[in-house]
Amino acid sequence: MDYLRQFPEIEQETIKCMKCGNCQAVCPLYQETKSEGAVARGKIKLTEEVLEGKLEYTQRLAKIFETCLQCKACAVACPCGVEPDKIVLAARAKLAQERGLPSIKKLIFKVLSSPALFKTGLAVGARTQGLFFKQREDGQSTRIPISGIVLRRVIPKLAKTSFLNMVPENNNVPDARMTVAFFSGCTTNFAYPNVGTSIIEIMKQNKINVIVPKAQHCCGLPVLMHGDVATATEMAKSHVDIFSKYQVDAIITVCGTCGESFQTNYPELLKDDPEYSEKAQMLAKKTYDFAQFLVDVAVLDKSKLGPIDATVTYHVPCHIGRSMKAAQQQLEIIKSIPGIKFKPLKDPDRCCGGAGSFSLTHYDLSYDILKHKLDDIKSTGADYVITGCGSCRMQLNDGISQEKMPQKVLHTAELLAQAYQNA
């Protein structure tokens, strides 16, 4: 990620693009907008013009670079091996440096990057949410406009007690064969704590101790996504400090974006830092999506799985599939549960349009992308949509609720924990 600090280095990436336009076929934003500025090759052309000094860091340029889901579909499809997602991040970093962050995001990031503030903010939010949000069975909609959140969007109820406050730091089992440290991530901590407790239950069934470091906070990816490299680096260092203290066999995550932070972003952000570089790499090597860990490392005990009589389908989160490459392992877990009827989506790894705060800042566009996913889900007739990421889950829940569809969305870990309970 040198290019995040020294923008011209991104030329090594842009020069590889031969402008064939193959990215058009896979870019969810291009499918909706048909705009060259939405798709990778258009953004690469713009980057070239900036590097040649032909374009200024204008507001329009910033808007165009905001319009990227970071789903990496273009990177996978690119015949020339270009990683457009990196070019976009570099451009965002440069734009943030030249233009400053948008003020609403500045505020959010300030909170995200300060563990104490973030926790207090959301904890206060959890207690006062009834004041601001209409309570709905499936989540909540805003009662009064909160800047940046579109009124129609159904967002999950914040948990009254966050996951980190719910469980002890050490969750030991008798005759443990391994110990893992669990990075819960913001969505599990504040919105879906049941995913976290499911992990502890699953590990218990597999005779694995779970340490939940209480000092952990946001992984920092939302900040990095918007070009605030300095803050993201500080957050990376903080997590390297926190997680390096524990002697564990693995660090497990339940969100592709958090996992990507530990696996890829921290080592790259800290590459030139003599104090942190090696430690970050050590952590990266030990980081797995929980399903990767259970299938590839710990060898899941399938004998204890009870039946679940349901038809399920699976949405591949972009960063579980294309970043962590853990989709196969998630599917293996789902399919190993007795009684499950698995109906695949036609297009399982198409982005749901959530993309973190993109769904808040570009709600209509995000929802248009989501509609394709909802249609795909409908045609399976599944009872449950399983996915491996809290951010996708929020997005899917919003759509399922808006369209009054019958499906329930569960995290893969919750489904697996349920199977152990049914034994």
Binding site: E36, G37, I64, P79
Partner: protein, 460 residues
């Protein structure tokens, strides 16, 4: 009359939502997939939603004598959509409806912004295909591929785009709307104006509706990989296959540079010590496929090659993965990829391949050659770096010689990519003075003001 007035009139005609003017957005329409051509900014980009709106844009362009550049997905390889002299880029992407699928007459009627693959997906349930399959089949539009007369891998047996276009609606450079051809298999009414506009590269008018011919999908196919230790043997095998009365759907060649690059990149198990390989597919009803595959195998062995037939769908897929990897693999080698499509009669393939080897040596360039050997359409691919001025000079000299040789061998400048900007200067080589005069007269007759895609093919 100013640019501001022009834009104002376009906004009045199409609505603000269909007129793009911010500089950052204009940059995104200054280029297409063609390397080594200028990328000037247009003044405005418009996105009409129907034929009437296209006609309005043309009328306004005519009034202001402003150039107009039709554009689909911008994936062409001849600079066909580059707004060379500023003016209006007209995007067809909002006209993307499949208007009719008519299985009884084996035709489909589509708007120009329909993606080729989407048409194929729509006709597949009827057991039909639209055969032209350029490498950009998942991105290119019908309008763009008709205007460029795109080819593809199946050209040998199934022909190219012009063989499948039965009718067109065109907005002429005077703003009037004309319709040519239709759904009938036979049509000899007057001049073949459908053919004139197919491949006209947006220089004579703007295609707004296409009636395309469909054919029954082949029932089955057999894919084969033939390996040769000399280029001559490979060339003779190509001729031999056709002489034995077999017309494969696909008959592709890769030279050693390409084989090694692909294998290094995609690891699909290609023989890296071979001088050339042929990738062959025959298709049709099972009995015919079996007989033709045997005939192909016999010819390859007679010409000192070895051959392997794909045993299952996976092996077949591997063969075509290797072929699809050719351009990307070569492209990763160096920053700039100059891809040509000079085409020679099939009988001259060997001569052309040997010539390309000499050219690479003469100008000290990396040239990988692959392509549609069965129809004589080769893709010599020069791997270079546009930032290296000295090397680019050698590239240009090599390209000059390649085109001269293709024409000398009785071939053509372009098998499937079109002339556009990139090859306009070579036209006289092939057409001669009399031929150029015909082109110029046609252009002047239809577009006397020279507003339609200026700088492409021929200038007024």
């Amino acid at each position: 009359m100013s640019k501001k007035q022009l834009i104002q009139e376009l906004v009045e005609a199409l609505g603000q939502e269909n007129v793009i003017t911010e500089q950052e957005d204009l940059v995104c329409y200054s280029f297409d997939a063609t390397p080594d051509v200028p990328n000037p900014l247009p003044d405005v980009v418009v996105t009409p939603t129907c034929t009437e709106e296209v006609a309005k844009v043309v009328t306004i362009a005519l009034k202001y004598k402003t150039p107009i550049y039709p554009r689909g997905s911008g994936t062409n390889l001849c600079g066909g959509t580059v707004p060379l002299k500023g003016g209006i880029v007209l995007l067809s992407l909002k006209m993307n409806k499949i208007l009719e699928i008519d299985p009884e007459n084996l035709v489909a009627v589509v708007q120009p912004g329909v993606i080729i693959q989407h048409l194929n997906n729509a006709v597949a349930p009827h057991g039909l295909i639209y055969p032209p399959d350029p490498g950009t089949v998942t991105t290119a539009t019908m309008g763009g591929s008709v205007a460029e007369c795109a080819g593809g891998l199946r050209g040998l047996k199934y022909g190219v785009t012009k063989h499948y276009i039965m009718g067109l609606e065109v907005v002429l450079p005077n703003g009037k709307v004309a319709r040519f051809g239709g759904k009938t298999v036979k049509n000899v009414t007057a001049y073949d104006l459908v053919k004139l506009f197919t491949g006209s590269e947006g220089t004579l008018g703007i295609i707004t509706e296409i009636t395309a011919k469909l054919i029954p999908a082949p029932e089955t196919a057999a894919a084969m990989l033939a390996t040769f230790s000399s280029l001559e043997d490979a060339g003779n095998a190509i001729k031999g296959i056709i002489s034995s009365k077999v017309i494969p759907a696909t008959l592709e060649i890769m030279d050693q540079v390409t084989i090694r690059t692909v294998e290094n990149f995609a690891k699909v198990g290609l023989p890296t010590d071979a001088k050339a390989i042929l990738l062959i597919e025959v298709d049709g009803i099972p009995e015919v496929v079996a007989r033709e595959a045997e005939a192909v195998e016999k010819v390859v062995i007679e010409n000192n090659g070895s051959i392997k037939r794909a045993k299952d769908e996976q092996e077949r897929e591997n063969i075509w993965t290797a072929r699809r990897a050719a351009l990307p693999a070569l492209a990763q080698f160096k920053p700039t990829t100059v891809l040509e499509d000079a085409t020679v009669p099939r009988s001259k393939i060997t001569e052309m391949l040997l010539f390309l080897e000499q050219i690479a040596e003469k100008y000290k360039l990396d040239i990988g050659t692959f392509g549609h050997a069965g129809d004589g359409n080769l893709h010599p691919t020069i791997l270079t770096d546009a930032r290296d001025k000295e090397e680019m000079e050698r590239v240009h000299k090599a390209v000059d010689e390649i085109f001269a040789k293709a024409v000398e061998l009785g071939g053509t400048l372009s098998g499937e990519h079109g002339i556009g900007i990139a090859k306009a200067k070579y036209l006289e080589l092939e057409l001669g003075e009399a031929g150029m005069d015909v082109l110029r007269r046609i252009k002047n007759a239809l577009d006397p003001e020279g507003i339609m895609n200026p700088g492409k093919i021929i200038s007024n």
